[in-house]
Every structure is written in C-alpha cells, then in structure tokens.
Amino acid sequence: MMKRVEMTVASVREIGRDTFEMILQNAYIACNAKPGQFLHLLVDSRTLRRPISIASINQENDAVTILFKITGNGTKWLSACQPGVTLDAIGPAGNGFSYDEATMETALLIGGGIGIPPLYGLGKELSKKGIHIKTILGFQSKEYVFYEGMFQEFGKTYVVTNDGSYGNQGFVTSVLDQVGNFDRYFSCGPIPMLKAVTNKLSDHQGSISLEARMGCGVGACFACVIPTDSEGGYRKICSDGPVFAADEVML
C-alpha cells in the first residue's frame, strides 16, 4: 500500500552527464517496493510531485536507489540535496513488473536513457531467480552512459549511442538482431523507442514501462491516461501502470 513517507538522503553522486544516483532511506518503502514501481517526490515545495522510478531495492539497509537526469527545475533541485536531508515521498506508487517465472528462461531488458533505472532493479530480481538476462542500453552519446557495468553482472550487455560515440551507433532496435533468443522482453524509455521496440518484437511477449506528466500520481485526476485498443478504453499510467503488457495500450 502506498504511503506518504519521509525518506532520508544517504548519498548522491553524478554517474553520467547530468545523471545522478541517489540512495534514499526508509524502511517502509524498502520493505514494500517492487521493481517498476515509482516514488512521487515533493521537490522544493512545488505544486506537482515528480515521479521517479525505484531503480533498486536494498532491504537490509532500508534503502532504495533512484537514478535521475536533470531535465528541469525539480530534478536540478533534487540533485543538489545533501546527505541527511529528508524528502517527502509518496510510494511505492504504481504497479511493478509482473511475469510468469515458469515460462521464462531468458529475459531481454531494453532501456533507453533515463528509462533504464527500473530495469536495473528488475534485472537484479530476475538474476536472483536464476533467469538468464540480456540487456540493450541506449544513450544519446558517450558522456551519458551509466550502469553498463552493473548490467554486465547480469549477462551480456549491448550499449548503443545515437551518435556512435560509444558502443554501437544507432538505436536500441539496431542491435535487436544480434541478441539471439529470449522468452520475454521488458522495455522502458522514450515513446518513439517503445513504439519501435514493440513493433519489431510484436511476435514476443513483453512488458513496457511508460512515462506521463502526472497530477495526483494516485489515480484520481485522469492526467496520465493512455488509450487502449477498445473504443474509449484507457489506462491510468500512475495507478494501472506504469508497467503494461506491450499490447495492452496504444502508444
């Protein structure tokens, strides 16, 4: 169940250009969070909270890790928070990744830019369960690359950059042909990327995690809807998602 909690910043460090890793402590969140869920963070007393994925969970230390990129005032403020500061968070929000362990031997993780964070926690979980993992990570360019090593610990990891300054040049879909077999994919990133991925992998089962500008973040305001196939049908990204089956919503 979602709660409003105070989380204490344990550390914050820059791990790529404008990209930060922050460890936040709170026992309730660490105990109840699942990969794919997010925190709705109050930043600088602004009107709207900022949704940020839980990138990994460390129950022993009552801590979770978030990874974020500075894209505006809220994330800038966040990046300047010093250890010891407490943040007001609502979480764990939304629904995490779900899958059938029994039918999955190999999973493919496909992340683009700041969509990568939730996949890391998922990778850790799958890895613990003995599921084989392959990863494709896409970035704008070399300076933005982060967590490559962390994913390599799970298995083979392909890095692509749009400008070719690191790894393969192109988009995440450019290396799909090289990854070989997998039973299910999990993807998170910008909408154009998710469109390309779901199209190319339409013969596979997959889960995608979506972003949207949010109001309430709890399912009450209809700010974050995404249409489904059926006439007038929709899902709320904040409370029905952010993770959906690849064919559940219309991108």
Binding site: L48, R49, G215, C221, A223, C224, I226, Y234
Partner: protein
C-alpha cells in the same frame, strides 16, 4: 470547543472542508490515505451523460505556484458513476455532491434527473465553467442568460439543491451570479479555473495537447477571494469557495471574504492528506483570530470600518 459545522441548503456539513471536483476522483484513491467520513462533503469528478475520454495528453503542466490542466471531463458517464462509484462513497458518513457537466441544456437535465431518480447524491454542483471542452461548459458560464436558463431547468428536474459553479473568465462575475440566483440556484461554487497556456520551448508549441488549460492552485487565490468578496455583496445564497487553498489560514481568508464552505483541489496532489490536516488545524486558526465557530467567520471581512 470550536464549532466547525455549517448548514447549507440540503447539506449538513460537520466541517466546511471538501475536496474539489476533479481533484479527488470518486474518492477511492484518497480513501487509502484516510477515512473519508472525516470530510465535510465530497464533490465528485464531473459526470456527463455518456462516458467521455477527454483530451489528448499531456493534460497537465506546472506553473509558478499553480498548474494547468486540460483533462477534458473524462469520466465514465452518469450511469456508471451511479452503478460503480456512488455505492462506494455511500459507505462513508459524508454528503455527496455530484458535479454535472453537459454539452447541452438537455444533457445537464438528463444527468441531474438520473442522479435524482436513484437518490444517489445530496446536491448538485452545476459545472458551467469548464474551460477544457469545446462544447458546453464555459459557454454557459460566460453568458448570464444561458447560465440562468440551464440553472432553472436543472432546478425543475429535481428537488435537490443546486450549486452553480462559476467561471472566473468573465468581465462581470456578479452579473452571472445574480442571474443564476434569480433562476433558483441554492448556492454558488466559485471559482473554477482560469484559462491559461504554457509554451513548450523545445517543441515550439503549446505544451498541453489541448493548447489551453485551466489554471489552479495558490497562484489564483487572490482572484478567487476578490470574486467571492464582490459576489457576496450582491447575492444572498451561500458560496462554496475554492481556488488555491492549501492551509487552514486560507480557509479563514475565504470565510472572511464570504464563503460558507470551501473546496480544495490542486493541493491534494502535493499533499494527499491536505483536507484532513486543514480540518485538524482549522479550530486553532479560528481561535487564533478570535472566532469560536466557522459560522461566526463567514462574511466577517465585510463589516470592518
């Protein structure tokens, strides 16, 4: 003991604080944070005659001390609201107000009679002020005659009290207020959002898919207070005040200006407990400023020399 109760036409409120329409859905989500019976009342998300999908996304943007929204009245339609949402709310000890939004006068009347027949709700908030739909909504709210007409017809369709929700996007809000009072409105609800826009600098276009959106939050409080203060001098029906409330002091400010109760919208997004916390704080704030009841403060900003 500070007396927080307020009696409004058709509504016995244990305290003057209710969530504003559209910012609290149909209560389910916030019921996970606290017991909804603690609220003065609940105003549901707008109900239309049929299910509506609303506008494309993005539907919200943040502004200085406020936000823009262009939800576009997405809702499951009156029938499904009665079937699936009202029963849940009926489980709480709290009056239910239905926010009614039509494209045509007939649709307003149809929605109201449907609610009325099933005895589902305690009062109507007539939404003639939604800036985010192409037809209906604000069209009714800017023209005193149209506003009066739809008010009279909805009044005729049931014997439930009707609170007409006014638009601030007008030259003369008092004219609209007086017109709907004469048409039989039991109360007013003010203010709805101000039409605004934000540009997406990179996209070189309006950020919201609907281009314009309704401005709400603390930024608009001075406009709400002014309009309530002005209207209060010209009507005798009670006013449910809203626009930028985020603390108990704000509630007192609205009471002094002339509101008899208040609704809280945008602030729920920042703090899901805001209604509850304000209800808890209100007695202390009233005491601090020398009032021992909510009633004693209503309209008191009008009498000083």
């Amino acid at each position: 003991m500070t007396n927080l109760s307020v009696d409004l036409p058709g509504l016995k409120l244990k305290n003057p604080v209710m969530p504003a329409s559209g910012c609290f859905g149909f209560g389910r989500e916030y019921s996970e944070f606290y017991d909804l019976s603690q609220l003065g009342a609940i105003i549901m998300k707008a109900a239309t005659g049929e299910e509506r999908y609303g506008n494309n996304t993005p539907r919200v943007a943040e502004t200085a001390s406020g936000m823009l929204n262009a939800i576009g009245l997405q809702n499951p339609g009156v029938e499904k609201i009665i079937a699936n949402e009202v029963p849940f709310l009926a489980g709480y000890e709290v009056p239910i107000i239905a926010n009614v939004a039509g494209r045509t006068t007939e649709e307003y009347v149809k929605i109201a009679s449907t609610f009325y027949k099933t005895k589902a709700v305690n009062a109507f908030e007539l939404n003639i002020s939604c800036p985010n739909v192409k037809k209906g909504g604000i069209q009714f709210g800017t023209d005193p005659d149209m506003a009066a007409d739809v008010t009279a017809k909805v009044k005729a369709a049931s014997n439930l009290p009707v609170y007409v929700k006014l638009s601030p996007n007008v030259s003369d809000i008092t004219a609209v207020a007086k017109a709907v009072e004469q048409a039989g409105a039991d109360g007013l609800s003010m203010i709805n959002t101000l039409t605004g826009m934000q540009m997406d600098l990179s996209g070189r276009r309006p950020l919201l898919a609907n281009q314009t959106g309704g401005l709400s939050g603390q930024a608009i409080k001075p406009i709400a207070i002014r309009m309530i203060y002005e209207v209060k001098q010209h009507v005798s029906i009670p006013i449910i005040g809203m626009g930028g409330i985020s603390a108990a002091e704000d509630v007192l400010e609205f009471l002094l200006a002339g509101a008899s109760a208040v609704a809280i919208g945008t602030a729920n997004f920042q703090n899901p407990y805001v209604c509850l916390e304000i209800i808890g704080e209100l007695p202390h704030v009233l005491q601090k400023y020398g009032f021992d009841s909510v009633s004693a403060a209503i309209g008191r900003g009008h009498y000083a020399a």
